[in-house]
Symmetry: C2
Subunit: 352 residues, 2 copies
């Protein structure tokens, strides 16, 4: 199984640098290991911007990887029978899943994160985008859904997903935003089921530059994905920081509270400027407005960068300002842009 | 082309967080951007062990990726016509290459890094291992070779590789150790050729935990590989530290000098204990000795971890001790183990 990292360290190493194995086989030397088992330069290029840690210079160890995976299993309430692997970001898992999934037609519940459709199309699959789970055609072998979905924040009850999976070859659930609402996650229901979830440290934990995600669920798919990622899937920093983050339920709880408060404040600011909230999670708010394009442009001209969409062009997504100054700046920019839009709409003699 | 990252920033963003695009389209705001375009928590999980940098909390930007790739192109003397991409370590490129390569039989020049054979075999390819480039069967469509090779350090002249590529569908050259001897690299000869090289920041630069490598060469293969890695292939730390490392020719030159000196010292220590040097590079020395297994075990019992092999079991690979204390410790441990081995060989009345 892909998650038996702790056990795998009893097998002879395939590579140099496996001090976990060395310690298991020979005990921990009093003076520490003199590791001559690799071809790695022991005097690394120095980090120009900060003091060196072992993150970059050490070969990421098998035990450290096993600990990270177990921390993810616990944090995400994954059953012991589900396969779990760490991936260098969830984007790469999105891209590789089509190569290890069963054959057949793919239905994507959209609009959603665009890499899904691109990845399955690149792999030569027949792909349809449907507006809701109920609209999935009967001949679809695979369904891809975001839960909560990005950018509209729609959620589906896990029981609905369980029922859907029974009619498919594979169900893929992108749970990049599920840390906010663990009750919608399929994770606790993955026991032997033909479903895969993708998790990310890039959203709720705020660490997109770390490139750390997880794929979990059905062993035939997860184990093949693990083989494509190879023996050192994630960085030393991802192992260290990721394990600490996932093992900190107090931070998780406090962060959920803070994000709930900040998202409510963001919705208030947007509503005060007459913008209709169309969806969202506690990490972003989606508005639906006929002036969305002009609003995006006007905000950008004032240094506020939002996420515009081409389908539908009336959507605009706002992430959370990080502090009071950010909220004030957004409020001020919205005021200016909305006032301009209103004055443009007034009948003016000189304009047609 | 996969390497036109600097140009791609003129296209509309596919995702939130593309401040490079925002700046190009709207100019740099005086107060800096208020980035509300992502769903990323602006108050990230704090690094428990060091002060936070933007490495982990920022979404790796397209311009930063383009700069990294251009630094790799310059450092590795890659022609402008070669496609170049950054990969999260070279291991993952090794694993994914079989999925994007032309069809046909694969000949691997070995023994070499074991992930090559595993990856092509996993992909269902017919794989043969041959002892040298001259022994590649006529029906092989693809050849995989390490240059310099790991663990024996064998090198092949680029001109031989150029000639071989002309008879193949694809030539794959693992150049993880080529920074030591840039004159053997195929990089400057990649102009339009059906060949791909893999480079790594994990060996010469001493940064295996950073997970950063490069794949370069034939566009039909490299561009498909880029699509499998997706839009954020490497971490923020890899972008920052990798770019700095590749843009520092003075460090590279000084490091080559130092490694040459240290490798000579390592060969002397091993020779002084009667060990026959069978190969190597300036980052490791391979010995061939009938007592290799006992030597590996004896050194491990003294806290010195070396790389043992099953084929052939007479090989043992030594990396460089990082300092005088490391050299002294290796010397002492070798003395003890070799003395024991000699005393074991003496005919002793009490033993059978």
């Amino acid at each position: 199984m892909a998650d038996s990292g702790a056990l795998r360290t009893t097998t002879a190493p395939r590579h140099g640098g496996d001090l976990d194995y060395a310690t298991r086989a020979y005990g921990a030397p009093e003076a520490g290991w003199l590791d001559l088992s690799t071809g790695v330069n022991p005097d690394a290029f120095p980090d120009p911007d900060r003091a060196r840690t072992d993150d970059d210079t050490g070969l990421p160890g098998r035990n450290a990887l096993a600990r990270l995976v177990e921390a993810a299993r616990a944090a995400h309430e994954l059953p012991g029978t589900a396969s779990v692997i760490a991936t260098p970001g969830s984007e790469i898992a999105v891209r590789l899943l089509p190569l290890v999934a069963p054959p057949g037609k793919v239905a994507i519940v959209g609009p959603t994160y665009p890499s899904h459709a691109e990845a399955w199309t690149n792999a030569g699959r027949d792909v349809v985008t449907v507006a809701a789970l109920d609209a999935v055609p009967a001949d679809a072998a695979i369904v891809v859904i975001g839960n909560p979905n990005n950018p509209d924040g729609r959620t589906v009850a896990p029981q609905q997903l369980v029922e859907r999976a029974a009619r498919l070859a594979l169900l893929v659930v992108d749970e990049a935003f599920a840390d906010l609402t663990p009750e919608v996650s399929l994770a606790p229901h993955l026991d032997g089921r033909n479903a895969v979830i993708l998790r990310s440290l890039g959203k709720f934990y705020g660490l997109p530059g770390l490139r750390l995600g997880f794929a979990a669920g059905w062993a035939p798919v997860i184990d093949r994905l693990a083989a494509l990622l190879g023996d050192w899937p994630v960085s030393g920093a991802a192992l260290r920081v990721g394990t600490a983050a996932l093992a900190d339920p107090a931070w998780r709880q406090e962060t959920r509270r803070r994000l709930t408060r900040d998202a409510a404040r963001l919705r208030q600011v947007l509503a005060a400027h007459g913008l209709a909230v169309a969806g969202g999670t506690d990490l972003f708010v989606l508005i639906d407005d006929p002036d969305a394009s002009a609003l995006h442009r006007g905000l950008a001209e004032r240094g506020v960068w939002t996420r515009a969409f081409s389908e539908p062009p009336t959507w605009l997504r706002f992430g959370l300002p990080g502090d009071d100054a950010g909220f004030a700046r957004l409020d001020g920019a919205l005021g200016e842009v909305r006032a301009l839009a209103l004055s443009d709409r007034r009948p003016a003699g000189g304009r047609r």
